[in-house]
Symmetry: D2
Subunit: 139 residues, 4 copies
């Protein structure tokens, strides 16, 4: 099962009453894990490029974005003892990381780096899923 289906079933089997828009949570959780992998592998692809010296800012933002996406996917995946301040703050950090990483990847995508093009798309998608979840969690 892909992450989206796992996340949905886990919410469906949550044992307490759950008055949340599950679609928004599932979309955000999935996007976070997708983007975490995309950024880990884009950093690795950048390291393998001949002009890696011009890609060090991209590697760094990839690493930041991957770390923050993993933390966000986990926090958003938890419902017990939900804390709107914590969830809102990490989702906003994820938006910032995805935006900066996508902006940097776009520069290199324009010069033909296909892994940066794919990664920028995943970052934008994750940024959007986070933006859409934010009002639902009072962020």
């Amino acid at each position: 099962m892909p992450v989206a289906e796992v996340a949905r079933q886990m919410l469906d089997y949550y044992p307490r009453e759950l008055n949340v828009d599950r679609d928004l949570f599932v979309a955000c959780i999935e996007a976070c894990y997708d983007c975490a992998d995309s950024c880990t592998q884009c950093a690795d692809d950048c390291l393998a490029e001949e002009n890696v010296q011009e890609l060090t800012t991209c590697v760094r933002l990839n690493l930041d974005c991957s770390d923050i996406c993993v933390a966000t996917g986990r926090v958003v995946g938890r419902q017990t003892g939900f804390d709107a301040n914590v969830a809102g703050a990490i989702v906003r950090a994820c938006i910032a990381a995805c935006r900066s990483c996508a902006d940097e990847c776009d520069i290199h995508a324009a010069h033909g780096m296909e892994h940066c093009r794919v990664c920028a798309e995943e970052c934008r998608r994750c940024e959007q899923a986070c933006e859409e979840l934010l009002p639902a969690i009072g962020g």
Copy 2:
């Protein structure tokens, strides 16, 4: 894009020659992220159960498995400077974590805990994807 598709494209755009069975890597990367989420959310579902006191071993193994799956998904996702000793050892740790977590979840699934049933399935699937990758990386 789900993790599997992200992982495949990132391998396809890897800038150096890559003589690996991409299907095995993609399957393992995807299974690791799926299982990481499954275990994070199963721990959360367990915490919300009335009989949480009987589920503390399950929560603990969920947390271990999630942490190890994230590390494994990242290590397996990297190709630059690939080290067979490191990759083999973390994949074996992932197999051990998935097996123990699935065994524990199975006990509670037999008593009607649906989130544990789903989580056990994801753990078994991740264990298998790791087992299948192991010979390909000389593990």
Copy 3:
């Protein structure tokens, strides 16, 4: 060497010019790793308590805080391609997580839970180190 000394030496050997207040970075990096461990172990101690059912919110906030502290310690530990928006946002998320976790731990510390007392202290210390770093990174 403890984390603080590792972090300082790594900044001292950073190969480019570095016009930052190293004390603030070192203090924040160390506090993040200390607090990540404190929260991981407090969650584990809570799981072992007879009244774990009353501690599930504490476990959850421990897990969130640990995940966010690890991400923050890593982001703050990187200087190459430093991005003030990303760093500021994750440091603010860390402040929110530490504050919520400390508030929850304080409740249980008042009822004699010594691990919650220690954890609350580490969370407050990490919150403060993050607050002090924030203006220095333009946050």
Copy 4:
């Protein structure tokens, strides 16, 4: 409080009987977090070097080692529902990661890279703490 002191207090306040050699656990937990930070910052220092192209294997092993050290520090920090197979396997993975990363860092330390010299020392120290814990957890 440094990680070692946090880890010790959290074990001291563990609410169930604990028949383990606490010194070995504390030393391993501390070494894992120290090494996680050392590797994160060594990767960052490498990215900032003019000859980063010759350091890409080092960056990769730093990233692997940091990811595996965080997972190991967390697993070893948990006592509830302790599973010797899982703990043994992740500690062995940590030994493999620390050894490979130290070997690679040593090469660059011999050419004057001081951050690699420090990182190699932290990796060796973590490898040793893991080796010493292994028999105590039946690994």
